[in-house]
């Protein structure tokens, strides 16, 4: 029996409201569901950051209504230090998992990966549907932590043991809240596993005729690489969360060392290792950073190529660099643990690959900039956000060179310098990737164009706003401002409070600017001008179908692919400067003779 790949069509058209909009098997609907989830999550996460920022700027200010959410955590509306940490934990967990992982990877990937490879759907639509609903369940479990008596956990999104493991005596939220947190992440891992399975098999087994691996658009590669990381990284987080839950509910002591004294009492557990949690967590945690950023790199490359109207200097180098990032991301996790008490020799070992990982990052950035140089970039909101991504990635990445060295990291590790670093390089940069993708693909997803004027205002205000928020973090860090403190009462920190107040104002302003984006999304969805099939004159297959696409993508006609997705800046018989992937037309030369 000869076995070929060639999976067949996997489901018919939806027939009921439920099968069309709720428990849909259609990868496009699932992508939109993920996007909506990310949108809800990002608003939640942003509001949490506002609450924290207000407290950091004006620590005695009462925030109206906060006492309703947590009478104990914010008596009279003024949050306790513990409640600050609880909000911080939830802000980070929601943002990292349900926004930065969900939107660029699961949302856009689900929607566009099958289309870009020319398939009608993913090979396992039921897994795909389960993947979304599992992730949604994880979100509900996590948010439920707000509503249990002690509130959400305060141990940070990294949940360092023993704080996270010894139970409710460790502080508010360290009982039920922490268990819910761990359960949510465990469930999230299952969703990611199902999603990654589908993504990888879509790329390998569902490509239409002519879509060789070499002709895949860069976004497909980015999602593929991310899936490979997702498949392996979340598989390590899951047992870690299970062991953490066992420490809470079954009396084990995997992450609790012997002889631990808490409130003058010996903790009855014995035998575990606090460092083990960090090893397990960061072995997942560092690839997670690249899970958040690599799809953004793909989207940015895709958007830039389309708008530059010419290929990248070397698409291959970008692909190899993304692979290198993924590979190295498993070797550098120890750089999060330079001050953990780990053997200093290990720090040295982890420092080398950490410095090495800057090489592929730099290669990608140099190719972007080199390709942009002298190009007649079409300025639209999508390309502006792509440029913003590069800017943020570089500004945030440069501080990584400092932090990669243990001797410097020891000074900066527990300061706002690190907070500024990761917010820019993986937080805001990834967000800009999401924005870029949204403005770029919105016409395809909804059949309506977004308002470009509002979009450009949104970009400029967000761009300036985020720099105002996160650049001063670096300064605070140099000045010795420690992280995770709810208020600054020490003498040497008091002069920094005005900086915090500035950041708070910038954060509220930048957050408010996002209302423009939400307005643009909702208004354009219903009132935006009708989108043509190919508004940006792109070459990849998503532009070879109506906007929005029918349930079976290509209407039952399989596209045949003749080119890679980089056929821009070419002379054609029709006068267009590009050739679509599914067009048999051959280029007559380059458009400008260069």
């Amino acid at each position: 029996m000869h076995e070929t790949a060639a999976p067949a069509v996997v489901h018919g058209p939806p027939t009921t409201f439920l099968s069309k909009h709720v428990f849909s098997l259609d990868h496009k609907v699932i992508g939109l569901q993920y996007y909506t989830l990310a949108l809800v999550a990002v608003v939640t996460g942003m509001v949490l950051s506002w609450l924290m920022r207000i407290h950091l700027g004006w620590s005695s200010a009462a925030i109206p209504g906060l006492q309703v959410l947590s009478p104990n955590g914010a008596p009279g509306g003024v949050m306790t230090p513990e409640y600050y940490l609880q909000l911080m934990t939830m802000h980070a967990t929601i943002m990292v998992f349900f926004v930065l992982t969900t939107a660029p990877f699961a949302a856009f990937g689900n929607y566009f990966l099958p289309i870009q490879v020319g398939a009608e759907d993913m090979p396992f639509p039921h897994f795909n549907m389960m993947s979304f609903w599992t992730t949604f369940t994880a979100f509900l479990i996590l948010v439920a932590a707000f509503f249990v008596p002690d509130g959400p956990p305060l141990s940070g999104w990294t949940a360092y043991a023993p704080l996270s493991a010894i139970g409710k005596n460790a502080g508010p939220g360290e009982g039920t809240g922490q268990v819910l947190w761990a359960a949510a992440l465990g469930v999230f891992c299952i969703g990611q596993l199902l999603g990654s399975l589908n993504f990888i098999s879509t790329v390998l087994d569902m490509r239409t005729k002519g879509m060789t691996l070499a002709r895949l658009p860069v976004t497909c590669w980015a999602w593929f690489i991310t899936s490979c990381m997702g498949l392996t990284a979340f598989a390590v987080l899951m047992p870690a969360t299970i062991l953490l839950i066992l420490d809470h509910v079954a009396g084990t002591s995997f992450f609790i060392a012997s002889g631990l004294v808490l409130n003058d009492q010996l903790v009855p557990h014995s035998g575990g290792s606090t460092l083990l949690w960090q090893h397990l967590f960061w072995f997942f945690g560092h690839p997670e950073v690249y899970i958040a950023i690599v799809p953004g790199m793909g989207i940015v490359t895709h958007v830039l190529v389309t708008n530059m109207r010419r290929p990248m200097l070397s698409m291959k180098a970008i692909l190899y660099s993304m692979w290198a990032l993924a590979f190295l991301s498993y070797m550098v996790y120890g750089h999060h643990m330079f001050v953990s008490g780990m053997n200093p020799f290990s720090s040295l070992v982890f420092s080398f690959p950490t410095l090495m990982i800057t090489i592929p990052s730099t290669v990608v950035v140099l190719i972007w900039i080199g390709s942009l140089y002298g190009s007649k970039l079409r300025i639209n909101t999508a390309s502006l956000f792509a440029l913003g991504f590069i800017s943020m990635f570089v500004s945030g990445g440069v501080s990584g060179f400092f932090l990669a060295q243990p001797s410097i990291d020891i000074m900066l590790h527990a300061t706002y310098f690190v907070v500024g670093h990761f917010h820019m390089v993986m937080g805001v940069a990834a967000m800009f990737g999401i924005f870029s993708g949204t403005y770029f693909w919105f016409p395809k997803m909804t059949g309506h164009m977004m308002n470009e004027t509002i979009g450009k205002i949104h970009f400029w205000l967000t761009f300036v706003g985020t720099y105002c928020i996160f650049m001063p973090f670096h300064y605070l860090g140099w000045a010795g401002n420690v992280r995770r403190y709810a208020a600054f009462t020490d003498d040497f920190l008091k002069p920094l409070i005005p900086v915090h107040q500035f950041i708070t104002v910038a954060a509220i302003f930048t957050g408010a600017v996002q209302l423009l984006f939400i307005y643009n999304l909702i208004y354009s969805r219903f009132r935006g001008p009708a989108a043509p099939a190919n508004p940006w004159e792109g070459t990849s297959l998503e532009w070879a179908m109506p906007s929005p696409p029918p349930w079976n993508n290509f209407g039952g006609h399989d596209p045949i692919v003749y080119h890679d997705a980089d056929q821009y800046g070419v002379k054609t018989a029709s006068g267009a400067d590009y050739i679509m992937q599914n067009s048999p037309e051959q280029a007559l030369g380059t458009a400008e003779g260069d």
């Binding site: 029996m1 076995e3 790949a5 598989a235 390590v236 870690a240 035998g271 575990g272």
Partner: protein, 212 residues
């Protein structure tokens, strides 16, 4: 059956069949998914076993309770599991040759062997519990031992039981024609994987904690 129907294991027959590029690994999507799941599961088991090694190294007073009787029992269990792996491989070969009755018979033997392994394993668990081993204490040394022992072997046991349930469903479905040879091969793959994991569990958990 066309190639693409083979690829999805014969489901959705009669539907529009797209023209596709060949898979670089020439595996149908279902089998690819199983391989991917195994890769993911390898990471999960690796995390558990590395965590176990880490804890064992970093914790004082690690008990070494296993007497030769336990080791003999474990060797018997290993022998049963290895035999079942061989039988499963024969079942897959029979299925590939289209011999449904033989394939079904062989996978039922695998199932029985797996059940025997499970029973012996549960018996061993009860033996440990009878000696006073719980998740947080035991008569010999650090309380962590019980947690580590039950977690790692529990993970293995959970996989075995899940695989046996899946094997039962797929074998019955294969016999009735609902499932194909690819499906049987898939569960066979998973069975082999679990057996390989056991090869890591035995030395780490049992041999290294031999009394004396």
């Amino acid at each position: 059956m066309s190639h693409s129907e083979v690829a999805l294991g014969g489901q959705h027959a009669g539907h529009h069949v797209p023209v596709m590029e060949p898979s670089p690994f020439a595996v149908p999507a279902k089998k690819l998914a199983m391989w991917l799941f195994i890769i993911s599961d390898i990471m999960t088991f690796a995390a558990c076993l590395v965590a176990y090694g880490f804890l064992r190294n970093s914790t004082a007073n690690w008990p070494r309770p296993f007497q030769s009787s336990t080791i003999i029992s474990v060797l018997i269990m290993t022998f049963i599991l290895m035999t079942s792996a061989l039988v499963m491989a024969m079942a897959v070969r029979a299925a590939r040759a289209g011999d449904r009755p033989a394939a079904f018979r062989l996978s039922m033997i695998t199932l029985v062997a797996g059940l025997l392994f499970t029973l012996l394993h549960v018996r061993e668990w009860f033996g440990m519990i009878g000696q006073g081993v719980t998740l947080f204490k035991n008569p010999w040394g650090t309380g962590l031992f019980g947690g580590a022992y039950f977690s790692v072997t529990g993970m293995e046991l959970l996989h075995v039981i899940a695989a046996l349930i899946a094997l039962l469903i797929i074998s019955l479905g294969y016999k009735s024609g609902r499932y194909t040879a690819v499906d049987l091969e898939n569960i066979g793959l998973f069975w082999q994987f679990i057996n390989i994991v056991w090869m890591f569990v035995v030395p780490l958990i049992y041999f290294m904690n031999l009394a004396g």
